[in-house]
Amino acid sequence: MLASLVQGPLLRLLSVGLIVVALQRTLFADLRPFDVVVQVVLALAAATGAGSGPQKGALAGFALGLMFDLGVGTPLGSSSITMGLAGFVAGYVTSITIDPQWWLATLFTGLGAAVGEACVPVVRSFIGEDTVLGARLFTILPVVAGAAMLLSPLFVPIGRWCMRVKRPEWKALAEPAEASP
């Protein structure tokens, strides 16, 4: 039990998640390009999905979302859904791509982040909060996606390291046709 805890991805994800949530609350709360908060935790979840596959992406997004909710004060579990979805979407589109180059992983990270951010008002509406975003969403989504794409060259390897994805595994992810029996 203890060994699986230490050897599993949980500890790495927790330690990296703590740093990223702290950065989200300090640096990235102040740096607001076009008056939009760059969602760095969401970007990490999407990048983990793009680098490790849909299941691990969803798992990382779930864990990072929980940490985000605990740190930011949003309803616990609400960000788990959106970030889990971001990781899953980024991982899924990477998985169905025949030859996912590094720049495609960047693109998919942006896509996953955009999907996750777009779902935030939806989830909040479901839990009974009045959310008024309207046209502003069309500013938020490109900025969040663009920032996630910029961060993805750094975050994809970090995500793989967190999820303990070894090189052969992500090479196999990159070549699904050959890897599948």
Binding site: L18, V21, V37, L59, F62, G73, G77, V120, T131
Partner: protein, 387 residues
């Protein structure tokens, strides 16, 4: 490796269901989750402090690049504004002191009597949806959830959970979840009533029939009748100046002497005008980039129509978390809707919510939450009981 296996699908569905379960439990209120939040924030605090120190140069560089022009322009404008307001400040302070004396004289509640705690803004909202800031004071300074937060310009928001020992979060008035009862005070005084109100001021037997100032401490001002009469025009000043709300925007073009005279007259007509001039409604934030709105209003013809430039203050109703007469903003747009819906007002806040550095938390509990103290039983004096 197939993309979808039953095991994978099950894992993802499990994650989704777990999230929904967590949201449900958290929204219903769960002590375990609150403890987890507190614990996580304790763990996060040193990491956050370190991140803040390490990234401070980056933040400064970013601000230097992005905000330099704006800051330079703002600095010039502020210098000009400061010069203009120095003279006004002296007049305003005199009026406030006089106003407080009058409020005390009439046993009226004043905002300045409520204790406040000054706090520094230490963090902004890390999401694009919530309009929340973080301050460096918490439950150690008696700050509780729901308390109003103000700046010298006006209302900023309210304290929202979680409140820790030395940190608290403030939901800004632009947040779409923010709501408070407000009253609308016309910027242009309503037309005077057809019947002239005659008010008798004690001690106003000034030579020439002018209005003499009321001596502080004269407790008989409201009821005494003397031989000299003076007409007190009902003006909107009775509400605006009848409080010590921390507004930095005195009535434009007001003459200090006239203001003093008006205030003196108000002392005798306050009760009447507070009831007459106010029109209450519900104030709601509309999210970042949109003006907050006031709803649930009745267009009462005798009070005049709502117009751009009207002032919005907290009404301080029985259950309201904010005390009365905190200035919120100015009406910038009036949307006339059907009679059943009533008009809708868009309000520009007085406070600059994008640049908050210091705020003041008003340690106020609504009257409905203050425990009632039983009144001591009094015996009727023999001379009044007729015995």
């Amino acid at each position: 490796m197939p993309l979808y296996t039953p095991g994978r699908r099950r894992a993802i569905i499990l994650l989704l269901l777990t999230s929904i379960l967590l949201v449900t439990l958290d929204l219903r209120g769960n002590a375990l989750f609150d403890a987890a939040r507190t614990g996580f924030n304790k763990v996060l605090e040193p990491v956050e402090n370190a991140a803040d120190v390490v990234t401070r140069p980056v933040q400064n560089a970013w601000r230097g690049i992005m905000d330099y022009e704006e800051v330079a322009d703002e600095n010039r404008e502020l210098r000009e504004e400061l010069e203009a307001q120095r003279a006004d400040q002296v007049v305003a302070e005199a009026v406030i002191i006089e106003n407080q004396q009058l409020l005390a004289l009439n046993d009226l509640e004043s905002l300045s009597e409520i204790p406040t705690v000054v706090a520094t803004v230490v963090g902004q909202s890390p999401t694009n949806l919530d309009q929340i800031i973080e301050i460096n004071k918490g439950s150690n300074d008696n700050i509780e959830v729901g308390m109003a937060v103000v700046t010298p310009a006006g209302l900023v928001g309210k304290v929202t959970p979680p409140v820790t020992a030395d940190r608290a979060r403030v939901m800004l008035i632009t947040d779409s979840r923010y709501a408070v009862d407000v009253k609308i005070v016309p910027a242009v005084p309503p037309p005077p009533p057809t019947t002239t109100t005659t008010t008798t001021l004690p001690g106003s037997a000034a030579p020439g029939g002018g209005t003499a100032p009321v001596a502080p401490g004269d407790s008989t001002v409201a009821s005494a009748a003397t031989e000299t009469t003076a007409t007190a025009p009902p003006t909107s000043d009775s509400t605006a100046t009848g409080t010590s709300a921390p507004t930095s925007e005195p009535t434009p073009g007001s003459d200090p002497a006239a203001a003093a005279a008006t205030t003196t007259a108000v002392a005798t007509t306050t009760t009447l005008d507070l009831d007459l001039v106010r029109e209450t409604g519900g104030f709601n934030g509309q999210g970042d980039g949109s003006f907050p709105q006031v709803n649930f209003l009745d267009q009462t013809p005798e009070l005049g129509r709502f117009e751009d430039g009207d002032y919005v203050f907290t009404s301080g109703s029985e259950d309201s978390l904010a005390p009365a007469n905190i200035p919120i903003g100015r009406v910038v747009n009036v949307v006339n809707r059907s009679t059943s819906e009533g008009p809708l007002l868009e309000v520009e806040p007085f406070s600059d919510l994008d640049r908050l550095y210091f705020v003041r938390v008003v340690l106020y509990k609504p009257r409905s939450e203050v425990p009632l103290v039983p009144l001591p039983t009094t015996t009727t004096p023999p001379e009044l009981s007729g015995g």
